[in-house]
Structures are given as C-alpha cells and as structure tokens.
Symmetry: C2
Subunit: 330 residues, 2 copies
DNA sequence: TTGAAAGCGCTAACAA
DNA sequence: TTGTTAGCGCTTTCAA
C-alpha cells in the first residue's frame, strides 16, 4: 500500500540526464525549457510514474491551485448549480475546488476557513453567515469572493434582488392580492434581509401591504410554523425566504385545509430542482446558479478591476407556476 | 492583501523563548512537552496569530489530514446525506473533507484522483465509474474506500441490494403484479448491474417476470425514454435505477395518460428529498446515506480488519408511498 | 524535557 | 537554455 517511495524530480532528472530544476521548469514554466529537453523529461517522468508533490510546490511557491467554496448549507439544492458552475470553471483553470459545508453555523464556517488557511489560494463564501466585521477581517488575510452577499469593496456575485422582487410584487399585485406575508430566513442571512428590503421597499408602489413573519430556519420542516405564522397574519399570499421553506408552507397549508393557490398563493426563491415537480408546482424566483459559480471563480482567479467590476449582479427571473393564483380580491 | 508574512514556528519559538522543535511538539505531540512550556508556546502562538502551515507539515510528515470524497455526480440528491455523514465524521477526526465531482465521467474521475494524489490521505469513491482493473491499480497506490461498489479486498460500504430488492419484489408481487420492467442505469454503474442481478435473481421466486430495459442516464429528463421503453414492454410495474429516473418516468406516464399507480406502478431507489413531495409520492428503497458516509470515513481512517470488517453492507428498507398500488391482476 | 540539525520535494534566484 | 544553490515551514532523529 504505497510503501514504495514516490519518485521525485531528482529521480526524473537523473533518468533524463538533466538537472532537477530543469525538470521543475519542464512541468511548471513550459516556455523556459527547450522542446527537446522537455520531451526527454516528460518521457522519463512517464516511465517512473512521477507525479508532482503539491505540498512541496505550494510550500515553495505559495500557490496552491486550489480554491475553497464554502456553502452555508450543502443540503440546500440551490447550491447544486452553483457547485457545478464553479467546479467546471475551476477545472478549466487547472484548479481544484474544495467544497466545504458550514452547516448554517458561524462557528463552523469560521473554523473551516481557519483550517484551510494556507491550503487554498482563496475562498468563495456562498451565503456566508459571518458578520460584516469578520468578513472584512478575512478579506485582509485572504482572497475572498462573496456569493449572495454584498460588502464592498470585497468582490461579490449576487442575484439582483430589487429586480427579482419587483417581479414578484407585480405578479401578486396583478393577481389581485393586497395583503402579503414574507416568511423570513435566518437572522444571520444577509439574503433574507435583502429580500425583505426589496419587497417592503416596493410594496406600496404595487398597492400591497407587506408583513414580515419569522425568522425561520429555511427547511421544509419549518414550513409548518411559517405557514401558521402567515395564516395568523391574515394574508392571501406568502413569499417565503426560499423554496425549501415554501414547500413546507404549501404542505402545511394544504394539511390545514387551505387551498393553494385558491385561498393562499405561495412564492419561493431559487427554483430548486424539486420546485416544478411538486403539486402544485411552485412559483419561484429563478437563480442563475451555474453562472454565479463560474463568475465567482473568475473573480477569485483574476484580480477584479481588470476584467470585471468587483460587484456583480445577475438578473433573475420569476418562474410562474401553479402555486400562485388570483387572490380573494382578484 | 496578506502581504505580511505569516508567523512561523520560529517566530513563536523566539517569542516563547524555546526552540522551534519544541513549538512543533507543543502542537503535534502533546505528551512530549511539559505543561508549563506548552502553555508558554500556546500563548505566544495566540499573540502572533500563528497558524500551522499544512503544506510544510504534510511535506515532512506525509500526513495531510485530508480525505477526498469522489462523487459520480454531485447533482444527484442521493449524495446529500452521504456528504453530511462523511463530513461530520471527518471533522470529528480533525480531517478536512474534499468533495470532488466526477460528472459521471470515467476520465474526469481519473484525472481528479491524479490531481489530488499527494494532497490527500485517501479517497472515498462513491458509485465509482472506474473499471475493476483501474480500481485495483489505484488501491495499490492509495488508501481507498468504495461506496456503493464492491470489489474485495478493497474496503467498501454498500447498501444490501439483495435484501432491499427482495422487499421490492415482495411488495409488487403482493400487489398482484406479474410483469415488471427494470429501467437500468448507466452501463458503467456497478449498482445498476447489482440491482438487476438482485431483482432478476429473486423474480421467479415471487412469481414475477422481469424485463430489463435501458440503459438510461439516470436523470429526470431521461425518464421519458425509460417510460416509453417500459410501456412497450407491456408491464404493470416499473422499477427504476434511481429516484431521478423514476420521477421522470412517472411524469411521462401521466403525460401519456397512463395513471400511476392505477395502470402502472413505479418504484425508485434512494429515497431522495423530493421523493415524498411529488404527486404521487414515490415508493422507493431508502438508503442510510449519512451512516454510509460516516462508515466510509471510519474505514478510511482506521485500518480495516482491526475495528471493522473490510466489506460493510447496510440494510435498506422500502418506503411505500402512493406511486405503487394494486396491479391489473390484483 | 528540550535543543540542534537534517531534510521532506519543490521553486526561484543567480550564474554560467 | 541549463545547472547550482538556497531555502519554503515543518517534523524528526539524535544528543544533551
């Protein structure tokens, strides 16, 4: 089981009849070695089964060709596309993507970052639960890109919530709804605050009265409490912090004999995989997840300001399905 | 941006008034340094904000405290619980879990492993697409644990397909079904072959005739083709390679005016998150994902044979929901 | 219990 | 274009 010592550049160098540094160059700086030498080296390496030692490389060069993607909660399907996009972009750039899970915990998120310090070139923090101050401190020590969180001048990629929420308000308003509840996400969620700001800021203009209930941990299970909270508020439409919560809300409403969308409309965020499979299929604000993941990686690899602005906002569009319909007044 | 050099053990040593090797021991081998010295060192480290350099440590010691979890396809929700279980167990053991995605590709899986060689202590390969020979070769060079794949003597964790499939057969048989189709997964999927073997092996004993259709890539979209294939086979029940395929099959059947479960019953594998949310909720063979993930990590960390047998089989149970019902003959 | 010193495998000056 | 050499930060003998 791997007890044979791995070959090093020295073994390759001896075999190829060159110096170790030449082997190093042949692998690392293709331009700085003659084609003939390069081929000799590559052949020798092949024969020996040489694989570069990433630790030695990183120790000396300070470069790891590895970036970490920190997810607030890996079990949230919303992150799927994000991972996909980030991973593909990272691979194209010859980088390894390390996915880490914060399990919705500030402490775990912080510890994971600590643990990866010196092992990665930078962090993409998706829906980070850290405080502004913690993020600013981190940005002083590491390359950082925020996803679904904005804190200038830290580079970030977010979905445009103003535009997205306006679409939701318009949709509900045009269906005749007047009283709407927003079931908010975790107090530590920047996104939840952002959504509330966008929704409440645009409510009046659409003739809507908005109530905030919650906060709720964004899980299907918690949808029950959220639904009860919304019902108590006497609304005809509910906007949930995300699709998981929305799904739970729909279930609870139906269990309580409240018809969706006839009695109450429900709208979610993220358009996760399951959203269109439900009965009724869920109306939800879509998210360009793969694109966001790709851009976050690019932002991390290329110094922002050159090729990109530092704060990216991606448009997102409302996907109208059958969980929303005409309100009592419509 | 991190231009201040990180403190090293030498800085800590100077500050604490000890030798660098003592600092190293204070962090690495707690027993081999006096308590008083240890406290001095820890205090000095704290003051300087010292964080051990994982590369230097790994370069010297050959230990990385990192294990890789390779997933055949990270977008398959089945892997959620697996990741959760593996991650928690790894963290408890002070290890970092690197999640990598093979995107259902043999080549990508292989390249990712190559790329992580020398960066991790071992690999957990979930639903690996590599050939038996490739796996055996890898096992000679790396610590390996297989998940949902068995290839003795490589340590592995699999769900007990014999028992699980027997439950499916019993269930369908007792509902009066006689003709059953198995919509198989990718040809490279060991699990799909295993399921077919378990199903076809037990069919006769339950008075069932089993037909194999496919193979199909296990996605919701491919459910359409799979449903058509099953229908053409003239069966009253369909067992799909996994829940994603099963979901697609249900949709297609309904689109074609075939009632589920009245006309055709559908059974999946994995009991993914969405399975119970569908209409009708999906009958499926559950999977102890978190437990499997935990055990795989333990198998990788502890040499098998001491605390565990090398080949683990976890029982799995059929979750009966409304996508299966009495067949035409029942 | 502690210190001195020799590398782990590689990269990056600096020379040639 | 290539070789020589000095570390990167740490662990681990070996001595004291």
């Amino acid at each position: 089981m791997g007890s044979v010592p791995e070959p090093t550049i020295y073994d390759v160098a001896t075999r190829a009849g060159v110096a170790a540094s030449t082997v190093s160059r042949a692998f690392g700086v293709p331009g700085r070695v003659s084609e003939r030498t390069r081929q000799k080296v590559v052949a020798a390496a092949e024969e020996l089964g040489y694989v570069p030692n990433p630790h030695a490389r990183a120790l000396q060069s300070g470069k790891h060709a590895t970036i970490a993607l920190m997810l607030a909660d890996i079990t949230n399907p919303y992150f799927f596309e994000l991972i996909r996009g980030a991973e593909q972009r990272a691979r194209v750039a010859g980088n390894t993507l390390v996915i880490v899970n914060a399990e919705e915990s500030r402490r775990i998120e912080f510890e994971q970052i600590q643990g990866l310090t010196g092992a990665v070139d930078g962090f993409i923090l998706a829906a980070s639960r850290l405080s502004d101050d913690e993020l600013r401190a981190l940005a002083g020590k590491h390359r950082l890109v925020l996803l679904d969180r904005e804190l200038p001048p830290i580079p970030s990629v977010v979905r445009d919530m103003r535009g997205g929420c306006r679409q939701i308000l318009e949709h509900l308003s045009s269906l005749g709804h007047r009283e709407v509840a927003y079931c908010s996400g975790p107090p530590t969620s920047w996104m939840s605050a952002e959504r509330w700001a966008a929704l409440s800021g645009g409510a009046e203009e659409h003739g809507l009265t908005l109530r905030r209930v919650g906060p709720y941990a964004p899980t299907v299970a918690n949808g029950a409490v959220a639904a009860d909270g919304a019902l108590r508020a006497g609304v005809t439409a509910v906007v949930a912090h995300n699709d998981l919560l929305a799904i739970g809300i729909v279930r609870r409403l139906r269990d309580r004999g409240v018809a969706v969308p006839e009695d109450v409309s429900v709208v979610g965020f993220d358009d996760i995989f399951a959203a269109e499979l439900l009965e009724p299929p869920l109306t939800t604000l879509g998210a360009p997840g793969a694109q966001a993941g790709r851009l976050a990686v690019e932002l991390l690899l290329d110094p922002p300001g050159r090729h990109h602005p530092a704060q990216l906002r991606l448009p997102s569009d409302l996907v109208i399905r059958r969980s929303s319909g005409p309100g009592s007044g419509g």
